[in-house]
């Protein structure tokens, strides 16, 4: 067993997910199968091999820092589930 129910709960917390009883029943076994499979990579000796994060990157993409038009506030707020015309409204934090 690579991953226990307790660990799945912990990881779900990190990912900001609440798992239902049914999911806690189902996910640990499925995740364990997947993690056991990917352990196949341990067969390979990768000492000294540089990791690839982007398959094709010529150079970093720099650009001039120029002032450009941005999205109007009204448009930026339009999809907000709760907004007051000036800002997104969320439950009180403090």
């Amino acid at each position: 067993m690579n991953i226990t129910t307790q660990e799945v709960k912990h990881v779900a917390g990190l990912a900001k997910l609440n798992l239902s009883e049914e999911e806690l029943e189902k996910f640990p076994g499925q995740l364990d199968t997947i993690l056991s499979y990917v352990a196949k990579l341990d067969e390979l000796d990768t000492t000294g091999i540089a990791p690839t994060t982007h398959a094709f990157s010529k150079q970093n993409a720099f650009r001039e820092d120029e002032v450009q038009d941005s999205l109007p506030r009204e448009d930026a707020l339009a999809n907000g589930p709760n907004q007051n015309g000036e800002a997104f409204v969320v439950p009180k934090i403090i």
Binding site: I3, E7, V8, V11, A12, L14, A15, K16, L17, N18, L19, S20, E23, K26, F27, Q30, L31, T33, I34, L35, Y37, V38, A39, K40, L41, D42, L44, T46, I49, A50, P51, T52, T53, H54, A55, F56, S57, K58, A61, R63, L71, D75, A76, A78, N79, G80, P81, N82, F88, V90, P91, I93
Partner: protein
């Protein structure tokens, strides 16, 4: 012949001659959608009114003699491409009511040509899946056989083109999501080189793997659409400033001087005999066209699925952190606190497969596991990339199957996600290596299901792929074949 049966190239000729208007063509596609989409379920949204308006604008432009190659052509886009003012759900409940305030670059490029967008195509939620069954809304059917999967994640983009509801579509491919449904639905689908097409406005799944590409009834149409969507975009920092050739110029008969590589590792025991036969026939077509066939090796192929199912979920877990119920999308009702709002929004808004991948990705990136999983996978990714670099020293194009089997029945994989992941084995490596790949119809199984042939090429050599694909299409003679619906 109904207008909706025309290829893009054929429709272009008719539109320019004045023997057909875009309004007639668009109406024909919209009528086709009304007739068959309740069966095929390609679309999450049909934008009839906007489409007819766009058609009229295109007709005016065509009459003025200023037509661009896609002016007046009815197309669909996968529902993870942002369309200004038109709902973009990504197949997820969490984005059910999301209306983007801007267009994706590729959508902008289609609109600049006055192409006609008929609707948003169904897909697996956040492009995670190989059958489109993970869509929170309508799941497409394979137009060739009822009850069979259209493939995924760009299943609706594939079925809409195959069922002739539009003349072409855009999909996205993170591990095979254009090529696999194209193969299962009997159409052409290209995943371009990473960086060839801007990802601006594409809802992100795994940013180092995602690419947008065309899905079409024949190779010529795919080349026309690639011409339209390719090119550098300063709004996507991974977009590459490479010259874009006219891809239609590659569509010539004869393959003398081209070397076609056959990778031993792609022809294993798990390969369906009918699929193998179709690919062998394809290799014979290349030989007859004058190509030289060479045996090559991609020794790390067996590790692709493992690498992919660490890297893609890791990137996804990070990308999907933005769905928190604050600025857009679904928000859980009556949260007790901000944290509760985040958690309930995400738990209610995401489906099973998305949750599984977020969990795998979060685990692989979490403290103490990063080196063992994510770093290790990124190192093996280097080995896979090196396999291809070495292979392309001795060939120009690599030929292989797209999927180990033709389409399967819906629901076949039930609660065994790994079994379904393993079916991606032949398409995943192109994404890991960032190289271009194309699926071209190769034949049919005895059950009447389409079987595609995959071609892969070196970075930015889509031109070689188009040339080989065109010769393959000429050899098989099965382009533009329409299923009976």
């Amino acid at each position: 012949m109904n207008p909706y049966e025309l290829s893009i190239a054929q429709a272009r000729t008719e539109l320019d001659k004045g023997t057909l208007t875009s309004r007639e063509l668009t109406t024909s596609c919209l009528d086709r959608i009304k007739a068959v989409d309740s069966t095929v379920n390609s679309f999450l949204l049909v934008t009839e009114e906007e489409a007819l308006q766009q058609a009229d604008i295109a007709d005016k432009r065509i009459a003025e003699g200023n037509a661009a190659p896609l002016s007046g052509i009815p197309l669909a886009v996968k529902d993870l491409l942002c369309t200004k003012g038109v709902t973009t759900t990504c197949g997820s409940k969490i984005l059910e009511n999301f209306v983007p305030p801007y267009d994706a670059t590729v959508v902008e490029k289609l609109k600049e040509q006055d192409a006609v967008l008929v609707g948003k195509a169904s897909m697996d939620e956040f492009a995670m899946g190989s059958t489109s069954e993970n869509c929170a809304f309508a799941v497409p059917d394979n137009p060739w056989k009822a009850g069979y999967v259209a493939g995924g994640s760009s299943g609706g983009s594939a079925s809409s083109v195959s069922a002739m509801e539009c003349l072409g579509s855009l999909g996205s491919d993170t591990g095979g999501s254009i090529r696999q449904p194209a193969s299962l639905c009997g159409i052409v689908g290209m995943k371009p080189t990473y960086g060839r097409v801007s990802r601006y406005g594409l809802v992100a799944f795994a940013s180092s793997l995602d690419q947008i590409g065309p899905m079409n009834r024949d190779v010529t149409d795919a080349a026309m659409m690639m011409n339209a969507i390719s090119g550098f975009d300063p709004r996507d920092s991974t977009s590459v400033n490479e010259d874009v050739p006219d891809f239609t110029a590659s569509l010539t008969k004869g393959m003398k001087g081209l070397k076609v590589g056959v990778p031993a590792e792609y022809f294993t025991d798990g390969l369906d005999a009918e699929v193998a036969k179709v690919v062998e026939n394809g290799i014979q077509i290349f030989k007859d066209a004058g190509a030289e066939i060479v045996n090559i090796s991609l020794p790390h192929t067996e590790y692709c699925v493992a690498v992919y199912y660490l890297i893609a979920p890791a990137e996804a877990s990070s990308n999907l952190a933005r769905y928190d119920g604050v600025a857009y999308g679904y928000r859980a009702e009556d949260p007790e606190s901000l944290l509760d709002m985040y958690k309930e929004t995400r738990s209610q808004g995401f489906g099973d497969e998305v949750k599984r991948r977020i969990l795998i990705g979060t685990y692989a990136l979490s403290s103490g596991y990063y080196d063992a999983y994510y770093k290790k996978a990124s190192q093996v990714r280097t080995l896979i990339l090196q396999d291809f670099q070495k292979a392309y020293e001795s060939c120009d194009v690599i030929v292989s199957p797209v999927t180990p089997t033709p389409a399967w029945k819906k629901g076949a994989h039930g609660d065994d996600p790994l079994a379904l992941y393993l079916s991606d084995i032949l398409t995943i490596s192109a994404n890991l290596a960032g190289i271009p790949g194309i699926s071209v119809p190769g034949g049919f199984s005895s059950a009447g299901l389409p079987i595609g042939i995959q071609l892969q090429g070196p970075h930015f050599r889509e031109d070689s792929l188009f040339k080989a694909a065109y010769n393959l299409e000429c050899g098989t003679g099965i382009a533009n074949k329409c299923p009976e619906l």
